[in-house]
Symmetry: D4
Subunit: 252 residues, 8 copies
């Protein structure tokens, strides 16, 4: 209920065409109206797009294929773009049954269905990753930013131990409006990149590595302690979070 | 040496007005020229502003007052804005001797001297903090973003345990182009804020707390695991980093 | 041996109808009597209900199906309610052989058999969970509290990133006498809930999440550092512990 | 604005004695009314008592004496009971200037001023602690529960290495409606106590110890892993949190 | 009340010279009699020597000098040997006031007063330490084992990086009945020592070190992972615990 | 080469029946003689029994069945008792091929073959464990201590949450010369046991538990911080280490 | 483009045989030329050998067999030696298809193909390991150092608990120019070895162990805290890194 | 006793000019002779130089000034070079009393006295550090390598966020025979440096930083996970260890 609707209701009350008690009920209901559909095990947030510019995204982790498909069905029914992250092939099978046009991105472990209009971001999002092994996470970021309406430029395998591989791509880096940097092991790439540009860098640590990488803790700590300005960090392996954050910035 | 300068030099070589050997020297020198002043213990990055949009900032931590003042003197001599973070009063005394107009912000433990033009950010940066004890970090973010040319709106003591305090400021939150959220203890505020808006949220965990807050680890982990989209995190107590990141975004 | 029984025995000794030496033996034996049945690998605590209001519960973790069934058989033989937590289907098969009426709750991974009277708790226990993925733990809490004689109200998928989903259920929350809040990731939900009510909140961190959730540590720390009053925490994924604690409180 | 007030307002609108536009304003204002006083650095939560049964408590940690005194002055002005935790003597001096009847509890590092009526809890809260060194935390719990209207029974130095010290107080333990158990080092006391009773046990780990106690982590983990039912845990050294939780339960 | 005393009481009851009700009271009282003196803040365990072979030892950490002196006074009054560990000089001043013959061992930070007979251990306890910096902890072990009636042989500065320093003392090592090995840094000494002998080795990690020694964690983990048989570990810096354990073994 | 043999050799040199150069060679060789058999991948320590009282024990973890069998064959060939710990059934199959009388203990995951004389320990080793799930580790300790020549008394499922189960076995506990206490979760049992006796207690944390037990860290820390005297700790799940340590003590 | 080439180009420009604009392009291109082959998912560093003395090595971890084979094909095509670490048998199958002479080392999980000349290191690299279970990592170091042109001496199963096994090999240890020491569990071996020699020791912690070895953390910390001089450490299980570092040193 | 001396002794025995029993004694004594001076609290390792190429170095940490001076006196008395690390000014005062020519290096917190000949290293050791705050540790490395006979080249404040500062010094880096890289915060510098050269890099993490740098853990993990070849790591802040390791390598 907007202010305008409230004004109209009160005018009706004054005019006697609306019953005060009924108006109380309507206002109270509006104050309590749940902007979501309750599926029992999940509440699909139908107002998410109004508040945050993109419909609810389904995190596949910890949900059964049936649950994922049920939520996906509600989103598709509203003819809005669909994104399921951390989706196993079995989840894709279930989703395809309710949304035959859905696409599975194996590298990114993501399901998408581009439906309806999405506003375009203003510039290019460069997605750099340090090594081949970080590719899964970089792709999750790319798929996410893509369906959210952004132009993507992928720049893979440019780790700091061969710094010339990065420097030789200086031009592409400088065209970015936002940069996502994905790196495991020591996680040093975001510092070097951020030192070369004046745009925000979203750093994504990955769990790639062994021994004292501790499943991505080393990279996470490296990025949090970056000595460069303009670096902020998302969770380990959280390509989706980086893509969504970069998209928000690119739409400003 | 820009491409234009290089073109001119080669034209001179062709015209015979420049010696090829000398040109080799000049090009080689340009390729090696250090864009910094070497003070022995520090290399003042004089090209930082060209690359990153703001002159080098001095992190006071671990430097002596004399070292801080020496670096500050080089920056002030170029008539550029000065920012020293983590500065103790003794450092301010030393800086004031070389830059009498410098100002000390006790809450933020920062020294500033606004000199020269700085481009203005496009919107407002809202800085929200969860409790009174997080104020030091929030102020460091505010002072940083302010000297970098941004309009600031402070929204303090709006922690999640009294969620109405936050919701009652919904209008101010929605006017932001970027939001910095500072919180210690459980670090839950960024998730709630990010769920209400469609602009990027920079989360700053603070070391405020005791026991199992482990000097800010609890808040840091909470923020990294935020279930909301559009949240990225900087280091514990890193108000400066949040302010600089928010400024970069606000200048896009 | 109660005080009354002791008094009677001593009266008999005085009256000469009981032999002092025999009385010494009886008193000594009573002082040493083990209020449990020794199965070799386990000691079934037959006095648990007297001390704690509910018979011994079997933690299935780390026990073989045969061991679980053997202990269950002893409890069922006393015609008391049975609860096995962390029970795999194989354990259920073994239990069903000795207790054909036993029921398996797949979501909660629990076996129950409601036998004999259990006193009813006085109010309603609301069980809120932040996301669909936390459902297993919430169900363990629900099954536990249910068989211990409590009325349950389930409120699922009300995480803080869409705070309106929680606020729209304010009325249900306020009817609770005790609230169990189950959440993974940043674990912020208990703080928000506890800020809205004046009843105790039992917080259960879950191991749901990835990366820096560290198997529930992030949620655990978030809950321990809750800035709200009236929150106490149980172990990660310990739905049973939360249900039992809530039941104890609800029976006061 | 309650439902009743809303009904009256709408009746006035219908009767023409209230202007619809003005009514819109009043309703909108009520929806936005901040139930707190904004001191700039803090927002005093004036509705806390309505929501949670006790006025806002001041956590002294990280606040200046002047800030503490300013908040305390607002609470005292409303003639409600005052509790400041983690208060240094300097904070007490500042509070005494605005509230001359305030009392300082050195063991508990707490300031109290019992003003106005507080409803009484129904039973006794037993506060047990394992060693003399845990006394500070136990006293914080005791002072908290006391000013919140509860009867307290202190049972100190009953650690598990001399289990007879605990067992000899079995009668006092069994009279409790709620038990707070405070322990450092291995934190085993709550398990033993909870095994003896059928009332809820709030466990408080303390930072007492050295070496591998890691500032209370050992005790915290011990308590979270308690093999007894009916144990929930608060933060390390959080005597206040335990006292407030126990009081909430004791008022049910 | 021993079995013999119980027999006598029951004989009296039968003979009519004792009242059954009074006998109930006596037996009940005996069952509940607290074998400790309650000082309010502490319960002095007067039966400790019966159960464990040595009177209660006072851990000075976290106790005020007055509290330490009060407990010491109770022990001295019973003419039993006194040991206070982790005692600051101020604590010694307070103890000396109630026990003028008490001695302060500055290296070990311990107070002792050898009073009454203590049974002698059967062999020699060798106390080896890796470096000069571990001396404080080694001395705490030595003072403890000494007052508990053991012969001590100190073998200091025999770290593994100069293995010949250890091997040259092979004869002294082989005379030990129990060996205490104290080491910080990598904590490797217990493994080497245990590989040379067939007697139990008590390993004590110390907090000596810097950086990745993490206050003794490195040494603790090294000792727990010892690849040699016959090594068991006590807490970091716990010289007292090692001395007491070695003494128990040496008295077998 | 013993001192006696050296004396004889030098006498021969003097008598001219031995060549000095050859004697140099022999002495040098003796100084270098490896008291082990080199299998390439392993060096079987044939002098272990001389130094430590029991032949080398084979830790099965990380070795292939073939490697285990090869080492076992060398030990059996010397007709000495065999113990393989952490042995999978496949390892047993391989060992049985070279040592047909070997026995597999499934609970303890150990292979034994009692061959040759082993000196008997002087008293009884009581092995107590807290819960049924700790049985594997307790059995590893029992099998180890048994083959090393000790009398064992098993006391299982006596955890602290039902303290009467432990107290009812007080007599058996007091007959022990050494006690091994095995416990997971909060690891509190060793403190309680050690408070009841005057013999050494070897504490073994187990990885039993979930959530914040962190694979045995909670129990390990609890045991290291035991407030009771006479407790020393071995590695998590290290039943073998506890059995070997207890045996060493029991043979003193 | 070397200085010489640049000189020639400029001479041509002066002589009018080269166009200045074209020269600008060439110089600019040279400054940007990527010394790698871009495979999309990977950038094969073709200049690595020039900079670091050995061609790029392929870390198999996290790469698919197809990716590994594609990179291997590029290296083999240049007729340079090939090394793939952390290679599963499936990867070997894929590599063998493009490089039939490649060899698989199962113990080391490495693929090699010795092609082209590699300069020989000057001395011997001794590789010592503490136990049979550390053999995988030691072999990875050995295979790496071998293909990089070094003479290797393997010294396995010389852990510190039987120190004589190490001391008996003193001669072999002293012949080394560099020593690699591989150890899990307490990781003490590098300290002992480094105390015996005057050459650099590269320490490799392994993840061998259980319980409080925490996947190699115990060994890592032990090595970092080594009290011996001349020890530096590589990542847990990083046999390759140790081999490469030792080879670099051995080629000095 | 060398082999030569042993040969002579046996010749004397054969010639009858030496008594066999006396020879036994002499050989036995030689085998046991302690190559150290025992000061009670310390054993000065007088053979260290023979084994490791440089006399024993005194770690000042945890030693009293008197202890440091006593050990220093023994070293100086042998006219060998002195190095005390982690030395407070008070320690210098004490050392100066016994060695008036000793020098105090305040930045490095080290005492040196260059006495006697030390062999020169073959090349230059470059010591690079990332920031001004890392200077203390870099200086400890420099002073150590200097007194051990090496030529040093200091390259300070070349952190990765301004990568051009490092690249502009490429020539100096390439002249090194060994490189020490000192860095705090994210610790990325060693990876970048090692990617540019073909000589060994010794990485030293420093405790410089705040928040999630955790006293150097972030830098340590970053360095251990370096994706570049030819990097090995020493303990946090261990400038001495790096200097000694680099010196060993530089003397090969």
């Amino acid at each position: 209920m907007t202010s305008l609707e409230l004004q109209k209701l009160l005018d009706s009350v004054r005019a006697g065409t609306a019953d005060p008690a009924a108006a109380v009920d309507r206002i109270t209901a509006a104050m309590r109206q749940a902007p979501f559909e309750d599926l029992g095990f999940a509440r699909v947030d139908t107002h998410r797009e109004l508040r945050q510019g993109f419909p609810e995204v389904i995190l596949g982790l910890g949900k059964t294929p049936a649950q994922i498909a049920a939520i996906a069905a509600r989103i598709v029914a509203r003819r809005r773009p669909l994104l399921v992250t951390r989706a196993e092939p079995a989840a894709f099978e279930a989703v395809r049954a309710v949304a035959p046009s859905a696409v599975y991105h194996a590298d990114a472990r993501a399901i998408t269905l581009a439906e309806g209009d999405v506003p375009r971001g203003k510039g290019t999002i460069v997605i750099a990753c340090a090594g081949t092994s970080d590719l899964h996470v970089a792709e999750e970021a790319a798929i996410t930013a893509d369906i959210m309406g952004n132009t993507i430029d992928r720049l893979y395998d440019v780790g700091v131990a061969g710094i010339h591989r990065l420097l030789s791509e200086h031009d592409r880096i400088r065209t970015a409006r936002v940069i996502i940097v994905v790196a495991g092991m020591e996680g040093a790439l975001p510092s070097v990149v951020a030192g070369l540009v004046d745009v925000p860098v979203i750093a994504v640590p990955t769990s790639v590595g062994y021994g004292a990488s501790f499943g991505g803790i080393a990279a996470l700590l490296g990025m949090l302690n970056s000595c460069a300005n303009g670096v902020a960090v998302v969770n380990i392996d959280n390509g989706f979070g980086a893509g969504a954050m970069a998209s928000l910035i690119n739409h400003l």
